[in-house]
């Protein structure tokens, strides 16, 4: 792979991260003059966690999207379309009702469990190298089931407050998370991404089919289990803190493969960079929108991502018709 696009991506990511801390600048600048500790606290406790979460969650979605697409040999596989994020959301909501939203470890475990359940169900329903239609239908069924169960959980909310908390969290938001909460999402995400990067070579060899990958000496069953577990672990932890955010995991790998000449495994690293960049950019859009109130970021990524998805489906009709 060429280094220049990689370098540019890295620079863009740093710029977006800096912008995420700095925008909007005037109130910070004014505060820095008047009350320096308060301004720094604002940067440290409000804006840094938000930027960190956008970066980690976006990178996690990008990396796991690339890995899942490579595993299923299908560019329409992604954590959201396969029901992983809805499974994680269900796991987290159920856990939250039992233990409250203020227990991040339990919440994260619940979300990871939910994500794992959804992915295993998908593998069982669609099979490892599913046709696009089977994969999407199975993903749709799992998303619908998890969504219905989440709605049921909301309807059975123990109190209006619990309902409101869960509802707001479900829409996907990076706002008002503490630095500890950010670390709760970012640390598992970082570990999962680093471990996913190791799997690039076997994933690339899957381009030639499962049999050839096995003849190379790659253990495809283990690869499948590793990717499912790492995705569930990283995405689950992020969903537990920020709610479900869609489409980044679908879009980022598709752009990333343009940089790697189509190699699915090598695309994991650029997909992580692009995913982080996309979510940081979406968060900047949320902040700059002149609406007087904060939009949930999950809504923004869905609004931007859904048309792209439609384009992709139209573009891939030949493959769907196969």
């Amino acid at each position: 792979m060429k280094t220049l696009p990689f370098l540019l991506l890295g620079v863009a990511l740093l710029a977006a991260f800096a912008a995420s801390l700095a925008v909007p600048w005037p109130p910070i600048a004014a505060l820095l003059g008047e009350d320096r500790p308060l301004a720094l606290a604002l940067l440290w406790e409000l804006r840094l966690p938000r930027a960190l979460l956008a970066l980690a969650y976006g990178a996690m979605l990008g990396a796991s999207g690339a890995a899942i697409q490579g595993l299923f040999a299908n560019p329409l596989a992604s954590p959201d379309l396969t029901g992983t994020t809805s499974g994680a959301a269900l796991g987290a909501v159920v856990t939250a009702y039992l233990l409250g939203f203020s227990a991040p470890l339990a919440l994260a475990s619940g979300a990871v469990g939910g994500a794992l359940g959804a992915l295993l169900l998908l593998l069982a329903l669609a099979g490892p190298r599913a046709e696009t239609a089977t994969l999407l239908l199975a993903g749709l069924a799992i998303s619908a089931l998890a969504g219905a169960l989440t709605t049921l959980a909301l309807a059975l909310a123990p109190s209006p407050f619990a309902f409101y908390d869960a509802y707001e969290w479900l829409m996907g938001s990076l706002v008002d998370r503490s630095l500890e909460q950010a670390a709760f999402a970012a640390a598992p995400a970082l570990v999962a991404i680093l471990l996913l990067l190791r799997l690039g070579r076997p994933l690339d060899s899957l381009t030639l089919g499962e049999e050839v990958a096995q003849s190379f000496g790659h253990d495809v069953r283990r690869l499948r289990i590793e990717i499912v577990c790492l995705t569930a672990f990283g995405v689950g932890a992020c969903v537990a803190i920020c709610g479900a955010i869609g489409f980044v995991g679908l879009v980022a790998p598709i752009f990333a493969r343009r940089l790697t000449g189509g190699h699915p495994g090598r695309a994991i690293a650029p997909a992580a960079l692009i995913g982080g960049l996309l979510l940081l950019a979406a968060d900047l859009v949320v902040r700059s929108a002149p609406l007087g109130r904060t939009l949930p970021i999950g809504v923004v990524t869905a609004l931007l991502g859904a048309p792209f998805f439609l384009w992709l489906v139209a573009h891939m009709r030949w493959r769907l018709a196969r």
Partner: protein, 232 residues
């Protein structure tokens, strides 16, 4: 001397009965047999694909003991399917299991250099076959396991490919090749291995095998006027 290939009781549950096969020196062994007779399964068992049991040694070493980087100098496997999951360029595809120099050499041998940078999904089926064959040949492994390599190739390229395989054998490699064209197999192979119902039922010198009653029985065909005809 260490035999090139030594398989003892190599089997795949439900598909291939425990099978012994030995290739002592570099030679071209063609696997023939009707559809579903176990040719692909035997190749899988030799390449240790799926839940293959039994013992396989190539050049005295067990493939499952070797990491991917070392295994590629031992064996390479070409599946019958010509599907490729992602639209890589022809060169990148050949490079998946070989160095740049090896890839270029294999692509030159199969006259693929003009298409090297073209995307695999924009090539014809025959050209794609040649790219995948180049991928299997490129690392120059001790043993080539090829499943119907001549399928989809035009008559000239079928002959050229067989000549390339002879050249590989002359260079010290062994090849076990499943194919359906009996005459082509008999013309180029050192040995013909006949399979039926998941087991080896005949093994010998090609022309003798071709004339054997066994072969006609297994395939349900006979030679009449220089052509193969149904037996009844």
């Amino acid at each position: 001397m260490i035999p090139l290939l030594e398989a003892k009781g190599a089997a795949l549950a439900g598909r291939l009965a425990p099978t012994d096969l030995a290739v002592g020196r570099p030679e071209l062994v063609c696997l023939v047999g009707p559809n579903g007779s176990g040719k692909t399964s035997l190749l899988h068992a030799l390449a240790r694909i799926g839940q293959a049991s039994g013992m396989v040694r190539i050049g005295g070493r067990r493939p499952e003991d070797l990491a991917p980087a070392a295994r590629r100098s031992l064996l390479s496997y070409l599946p019958a399917s010509r599907d490729v999951a992602w639209p890589l360029s022809a060169r990148d595809l050949v490079r998946l299991g070989a160095s740049e120099a090896e890839a270029d050499e294999a692509m030159a041998a199969l006259d693929l250099l003009p298409w090297a940078d073209r995307r695999i999904d924009r090539l014809s089926t025959g050209e794609r076959s040649r790219v995948l064959i180049a991928r299997a040949l490129a690392p120059k492994p001790l043993l080539l396991l090829l499943d119907e390599p001549v399928a989809n190739l035009d008559p000239l390229w079928q002959l050229r490919l067989m000549a390339i395989l002879r050249l590989a054998v002359a260079g010290g490699q062994g090849a076990v090749v499943a194919m359906h064209d009996l005459d082509l197999a008999a013309r180029f192979a050192d040995r013909l291995v006949l399979m039926a119902a998941g087991a080896i039922v005949g093994d010998g010198e090609p022309l003798a095998m071709l004339d054997s009653a066994r072969l006609g029985e297994v395939f349900g065909i006979k030679r009449a006027g220089g052509a193969w005809m149904p037996r009844d």
